[in-house]
Each structure stands twice: as C-alpha cells, then as structure tokens.
Amino acid sequence: MENAWLIPLFPLLSFLLLLLIGKRLREASAYVGILLTLASLVFSILVLFERFSEPTYMAKVNWLTIGEVHLTAGFEVNQLNALMLFIVSLVSFLVHTYSKGYMQGDERFHVFYAYLGLFTFAMLGLVISPNILQTYIFWELVGVGSFLLIGFYFYKEEAKAAAKKAFIMTRIGDVGLFIGMILLFWQTQSFEYSEIFKAVEAGSVSNTMITLTAILIFIGAIGKSGQFPLHTWLPDAMEGPTPVSALIHAATMVAAGVYLVAALFPLFLASKTALLTVAVIGGFTAIFAASIGLVQTDIKRVLAYSTVSQLGYMMLALGCGGYVAGVFHLMTHAFFKALLFLAAGSVIHAVHTQNIEEMGGLWKKLKLTAPLFLIGTLAISGVPGLSGFFSKDEILVAAWEGGHPVLFLLALIAAFMTAFYMFRLFFMVFTGDARSEQRDVNESPSVMTLPMVLLGILAVVAGYINTPWFGSFLGDWLVDGNPILGAAHIEGPAWIMIAATVVSLAGILFAYFIYGKRSIAPDWLSGKGDMLHTVVSNKYYIDEFYQMTVVAIVTGFSYFLRLIDTFLVEGIVKGVVGFVQGLGRTGAKMQSGQVQTYGAVAFLGLAVLAVIYALTGGYLR
C-alpha cells in the first residue's frame, strides 16, 4: 500500500509518452496505454487485497506553505479509496483495450490514448486524495480529461459545443466546491479529511457553516454527477467517442460526485438539511432523468439519461444515510453501465448510426453483443439475481428506513421507468425487423468483445458481495472502523424487495408489449398526452430555459458593459482628449510666429511672478 501513489502515475506516464512520441507509434500507442493501465490495475488489485487485512494507510509531503499553514499533498488508502481504485483502473483498463478495436483507423489514434491516459491519471489521483484540496485539483483535471475526450472529434460543431458545455457546466458546480472547500478551511484550519471530520465531530464548526459548506460541496457533486439542474451537459457529452462515454460518463467521472459526497459523508451527516438536500436532489433527478429517457431515440442519449437517473439514485441513497447502499450502487452501476455503453458502442460500430429507430433485428447479427447488452439491461432494470437488483434494493430500503416515503415512491417509479425505457431500447435495437438498410453488420473484433464479456460477468456477480441473503461483506468492510458512516446493512421489510421486483418486471413487460410484441402501438403513450410528450422529448426545455435566462443575461450584461466601456470609460477619455486637443488648437492659434509677441508673453509671465514675489515675500521667507 505504500506504493499506491504509483497507481495514478502509470497512466500519467502513458499520457506523457504518447504526447511526445505517440505520432511515431501510431496504432502501437494502444499497447503503451493498455500495458500501463494494466500495471495500474494490478497494483490496484494488490492494494485492494492488502486493504482487506491492513488498516488505512496515509502518506503526505509538503506541497505549499502559506505563512504558518502547510498544505500537503499525499495519498490515502482507505476502504472507499481502495474500492474506487479498483473500479476505476479496471474500467479504464477495459476501455483502453476496447478502444483499440473501436478507434481503429482514426487519424488521431495516439491522441485519443494520450487523453485517456490523462483522464485515468486524474481519476485515480482523485480517488486516493487524502485532502479536499487535492481532491479538487484532480476533480478539475478529471473535468479537463472529460472535456478533451468529448471534444475529441473537434471538427464536429456538436462536439465542440458539447465539450464547452460540459466544461462550463461542471465548472459552475466546481465553484461551489471551491467556495465550500475554502470556507471549510477557514473553519477547521485544514484541508485534510481527517482533520475536518475531527473538527466537525468536536463541534467547533457552527451548524449553519456545516450546512452551508456541505451544500456548496454538494453543488460541486451536482455539476460533476450531472444532477438536476446541472445535468444538461451529460447527455450532450455523448458526442464523444463511445468508449469515452463508457469510461467517463458512465463508470468513473460522473460517479466522482457520488464519491465526493461519500468521502465527506461525516460532514453531511452532521447536517440534516444538507442530507435532505442531497436526498431530494437525487430523488428528483432519478425520476426526472428517467422520464426524459423514455422518449429519447439516440441509443447513447438513452443511456446517458439513464446514467443521470442512476446517479440520482446513488445521491438519494447517500442523502437518506445509506452510505453502503450508495457506494454499492456506484460499484455495480459502474460495471453494468460500462457494459451497456461498450455494447452500445459495439452496436454503433456495426451499424454506423446511433438512432434506434433505424436499428432493429440485430439479435441475430450481433451474436455476442446482444446477450451482453441484455445482461446489462437486466442488471440496470433490477431483475433479481443480477447486481443491479441488490444495490437498488439497498437504496430503496435506505430511502424507506431513512424516513422519506415520498422519495421512496419516487425511486420506485423511477425504477419502473428505468426498466421500461431500457427494455424499449433493447427491443427496438435487437428485436423485430431492421428498420433501415443495414449492410455488412459484423460482430466486433474480440479486442472489443472481451472487455464486454468481463464486464458482463461482473455485472452479474458483483451484486453478491453485499446481499441480504449471503451476508453484507462489502458493507461490513466499508464501515469497518468508521461507525459514524452508518450501519453496514440496513434491514428493511421484505415487501420492499418484492415491490422492487414487481415494479421492474412490470416495466419490462410493458416495454415488451409495446416494442417487443407490438401488441400496443408505440404511440399509444405519446398519443395520450401530446403536450407532455413534446415537453419531455425536448428534455423539459431545460437547455432552452438556460439559453434564454443565464446565457442571455450574461450576454446581455456583457453588451451592457461594453456600452459602458465604449461610452462611459472611452467617453471620459475622449472628453479629456478633446479638451486637451481644444486647448492645443487654441494654443496653436496664439502661436503667431512673431518673436516679439512671444517675448512679450514670456516677459509678462516673469513680471507677474516678480510682482507676486515682491508682494508676498516668496517661498524663502
């Protein structure tokens, strides 16, 4: 564990290497990236296993001195960090491998791998930070990695806009984190997590301050995890290459918000208001994004909204005090969502379109991708036996036991919707007849399918490390030594599990009747509420709303300031200049060229001075 700091450095090395010599390596760049992330993965696994038996390890060095305060940089391996290290490096490794097939033939192949390396470095750095400042630093770097990868197809206007939007939207959230972090520092005199928790526990921070800082930090999480109202960037981010969506916008970076809340969980626990905020935002986002997901036609956008929705779930869990539930879902979600994205990428790779209305009947053609996609769909829908079922169940229990029946209901409805739209997606893509001409639809190469298979296995089995039936191994381990984080497993009434199962099965069936068997016309639903359908398919006009308010206000204010700049500031300057010029012109007129006049004026000046001097006695006296 002493060498855990090496883990992020491998991808950094990959980034630097590829930046310098990537152009010469060309396709071989992939091997550099893959090998170095593999090294990270191996180390992460070692660290994870070591962490099972050893206590938390932490090391730090002096980074910056401000007066008396020494800011440190270092790394910490606690349960959460070790788990995140493993998840991130695993998904990252798999995506690196997958990309070799997916990005084959791209002109900027090496750049892609370099960016992936940068992102992986930042993400790994983020999850082993022992203090909030370092977290913030990597937090931003992660954002940049994401930004670069979204804008990878830089020549596409949409990619450019999406990249910009992603950066700025998350930046808005980051500022919240920034402020919260600084306020917390002045309250506790430290950025270290441990010190902050100590101060919070000792009650040396006022309650309002705790609530304020917790909510500010949560704003950062909102931005990164695409929670309402800063969610709009995440679906747009699908302009990036699909492996990127899998890595960043499903499994790792967007989960950073959840991770941040989890890492600062004792702070949130200290404030009821902050917890409630987290829960409400999470619950609302879960159902809100799910409802948009119902009507999307772009395969990746459906997955994106599902990601937003699932992240809302995790937030809801944390907000209800279900630390284990949130982290558990974070893990399982990482696996099955990465699987779904990679499978979607495989589909796109095969049919060269993202519009699901143009797909159909791919089950026979994509012999491997289709079952894997089905596994992912089942897992996310919460079908019993798969990982998603267990973690979702934990969340529902946490919401119920946390005393938020309304949020529980929301979560349940969201679960229904999730099952529905995911299977809508599945049926539209894989069953029925091809709705457009599809030529040379081939299964992806094994370099792409192998990671999917691995993720598929994980999507099935990952749930079993924390189940009500076989013991809550993960939960026990996560809260070990930190009783403040809450119970390892919350025992809930059995009907919750049944309800969850029923709901998800109902969603699946519903989707089957509409899109699978087509016994109900697809426009049965949309026909009922035309207005509603329009509103939902336009994503509740949130983008337009922002465009009309925030962007318009900023632009308007800028033009207003430009008016000030041109008329007031420049006007004053021009006024002064005009005055001086006028003075100069008058002076020029007085310049007659006659020596005698000059002499007279000069002499008169002298005379006046002399008289004044004679009358007043001058300076000397």
Partner: protein, 104 residues
Amino acid sequence: MSSVPASAFLALALILFCIGLYGALTKRNTVIVLISIELMLNAVNINLVTFSKYGVSPSINGQVFALFAMAVAAAEAAVGLAILMALYRNKKTVHIDEMNEMKH
C-alpha cells in the same frame, strides 16, 4: 566716501533696462529693437560696474565682466544686423511683426 549711494546707480540701471525692455517689446522696426537690446545690455553693465565698486567684496572682476559683455554685445549687434539684412532682402521689410517665419 562717495555721496552717491550704490542704489542710485542701480536705480538708473533699472530705468534704462526698463526703457530698453519696453522698446524691445513694442517697437516695430527691427533696428530699433536691436538697439533697445543694446540698451538693456548697457543697463546690466552699469550694474556690474556698480557692484564692482560697491559690492560686498569690491574687486576688478565686475569691470572685466562688463568688458566681456560689451564684446559679446558687439558681436551680437553685428550678427543681428547681418540677419536683418538677409531677412530684408527676402521679405523687403524691417517690421518685426511681419516676420512670422516661426509659425508652424
């Protein structure tokens, strides 16, 4: 001891200087302006010589200075007049207010 005080000489010099100054600044004829300037120089010379005799520490220096001033004045008169001639040839006038070559 002399019965004429130093200030009398200085006052005389002042009056002559002022006359010269007034002439230099108001007369239109350039020759007269030059002569007025000579008058001002003379007034200064009177001061020099006066202080040479009645100064805090009387010495011959003041008189020597007056001589130098005269030499310079003579040179100035010669050059000034030469310039005047050159100007006159070009502009056919000796009136100083019509010589505005320094404009612009």
